[in-house]
């Protein structure tokens, strides 16, 4: 227990001394709060159409302006946080659960299990990720749930490879032999020994993956193949805005900024976590 505390202390020290990581952490917290408090923060309901206010440039009443149907863009951006976070968390839950299971089995058992699982992952990685996402969306049809599934699938191999590599190295460790010697069953070894010892790279990958998921979903929704209107997803707001560039440039500006800050927040946090967790980097500080 004492060791655990001192490790957490070292981690916190390394993480908080990294200013960029702290910035990322703050952005993520702000996003979570925005999503949670959306009904309180948003000045208007996200779908409320005020026709006489349609296509207004930013003003005191509508800080980010309004869209074609007179919906308040600030309110829609605020509610969009919920969609982006949902896509990020749920798609990573899918990718992590499938990827970790495949990687654990492949790395622990080796041999045929390894070949079958990892060839399947190679086939998934055999062509550009966006293309795979488009293919999946064209089969499943455009919707929020399907976008989550598509992003989950394209990110699965990343987790599988990560856990497999980790399992392969832990398989040679003495503490695994010890676990065997006391008669621990295989499934318990996989969970208690291998998975617990791979937690830090998994957490790092989750943070980076959420940023990636938000970006990919925004791209799909922008193309009209992801979240469908009238749901206020940032990507589809940009898609609606692009034919209105001449008349309503503000419609394209703010949702894009929201995507940018969300992604950079999770990326910075992920990079910071990686550096803080990696024990070799902690001591070296000029």
């Amino acid at each position: 227990m004492k060791i655990l505390f001192s490790r957490i202390k070292i981690f916190l020290k390394a993480f908080s001394s990294n200013r960029l990581a702290a910035l990322g952490f703050v952005i993520v917290i702000v996003m979570l709060l925005t999503a949670l408090l959306a009904p309180i923060l948003a000045p208007y309901p996200p779908d409320k159409q005020i026709y006489q206010d349609a296509r207004q440039s930013p003003s005191v009443q509508h800080i980010f302006g309004t869209d074609l149907l007179g919906r308040d863009i600030l309110s829609r951006v605020i509610y969009g946080t919920r969609i982006s976070l949902m896509v990020g968390f749920l798609s990573m839950a899918i990718a992590a659960s499938f990827g970790i299971t495949a990687g654990l089995l492949a790395g622990f058992f080796g041999g045929w299990t390894d070949t079958i699982f990892m060839r399947a992952m190679d086939a998934l990685m055999a062509f550009p990720a966006i293309l795979l996402a488009l293919l999946i969306m064209s089969v499943l049809g455009p919707s929020l749930a399907n976008a989550i599934i598509a992003v989950g699938i394209i990110y699965t191999p990343t987790f599988a490879r990560l856990i497999r590599a980790s399992a392969l190295s832990i398989r040679e460790k003495e503490y695994l032999e010890a676990a065997r010697a006391i008669g621990m069953p295989n499934w318990l070894i996989m969970i208690k020994v291998i998975l617990l010892n791979s937690l830090s790279p998994i957490i790092v990958q989750l943070s980076l993956g959420i940023g990636y998921a938000i970006l990919v979903e925004a791209g799909l929704s922008f193309l009209g193949l992801g979240v469908q209107p009238p749901q206020p997803a940032w990507g589809s707001m940009l898609g609606e805005a692009r034919n209105m560039m001449v008349f309503a440039p503000w419609m394209a500006t703010f949702p894009g900024l929201a995507i940018f800050f969300a992604v950079i927040g999770f990326n910075l946090m992920g990079d910071g976590l990686r550096e803080a967790i990696d024990p070799h980097r902690i001591v070296v500080k000029h």
Binding site: A126, L131, V139, G211, F222, L223, P249, I264
Partner: protein, 314 residues
Amino acid sequence: MHQFILRRMIQMVFVLILFSVIVFTVLRLVPGDSATAQLGLEAGDQAYTELRAEMGLDQPIFIQYLSWASNVSQGDFGVSWFSQKPVISLIKKRIPASIWLTLSALTIALIISIPVGIISGIKPNSWIAHIATFFSLTGLALPSFWMGLMLILTFSVFNRWLPPSGYVSPFIDPIMGFKHLILPSLTLGIEIAAPLTRFIRSGMLDVMNSEYIRTARAKGLTEYLVISQHALRNAMLSVVTILGVFIGYLLGGSIITESVFNYPGIGTLLLQAIHQRDYGVIQGIILFISLIFMFINLMVDISYAILDPRIRYE
């Protein structure tokens, strides 16, 4: 060496077969087929059944795959069920535009990332390095389609300097062709430049910390010689390996950028086919892109073996 190339090509064929089976099967499992797409929901059952028979959609899926695959191996990618034109001719028509975009985006990305990556790798604490880190962090989080929209706003809406969309062949009208290329290739180029700079920088950092650089310094070479003769060559090797990945990314990632600029490349053709549920075209394009992707990766592996004499594929 020949053996290595041969083995890689056999591997490639296997992956391609596996891949085509997946693409084919998955697309056939969709509810609502091309016959429905072509006739509309109001059409009678009679017409629907006839059209399905004509398209071969009433055959078992296995037979459908075999006939499709044997046609593909002879260069016949099938017919678009929407426009009734051969898929391969649809793709061919879009290739020049796609090549122009890929090459100019790659050029822009390399012009930015190589010098910035190298300098920030040599001097990791200089101001250039800090600015480079800032820009590559920004670039990684910037949605390319949004950057494209902002470029259109700046250069086509507020200032009418460049056309916001379309394509003119640079062979027919060099000036207009060039103007049409600038915005889309900037968008794609900057998107690629961010991860590429990061990659070159970390490769350069690794090389600069290696023992042979210390040796080169220890024997009294000037810093210029150390970098130009020893460090750069080795750092560039790793760039070659990663370039294949980035070209593949350009082929896929250009779909969104092409859509932003209404650029008539292969990406917009694919999007159009997806919206029309034109399976023949979707399959053809995806197979085509993955073929190119695998071919480029093969080329990269071979050039890597030639460039680095330590690597022998046994």
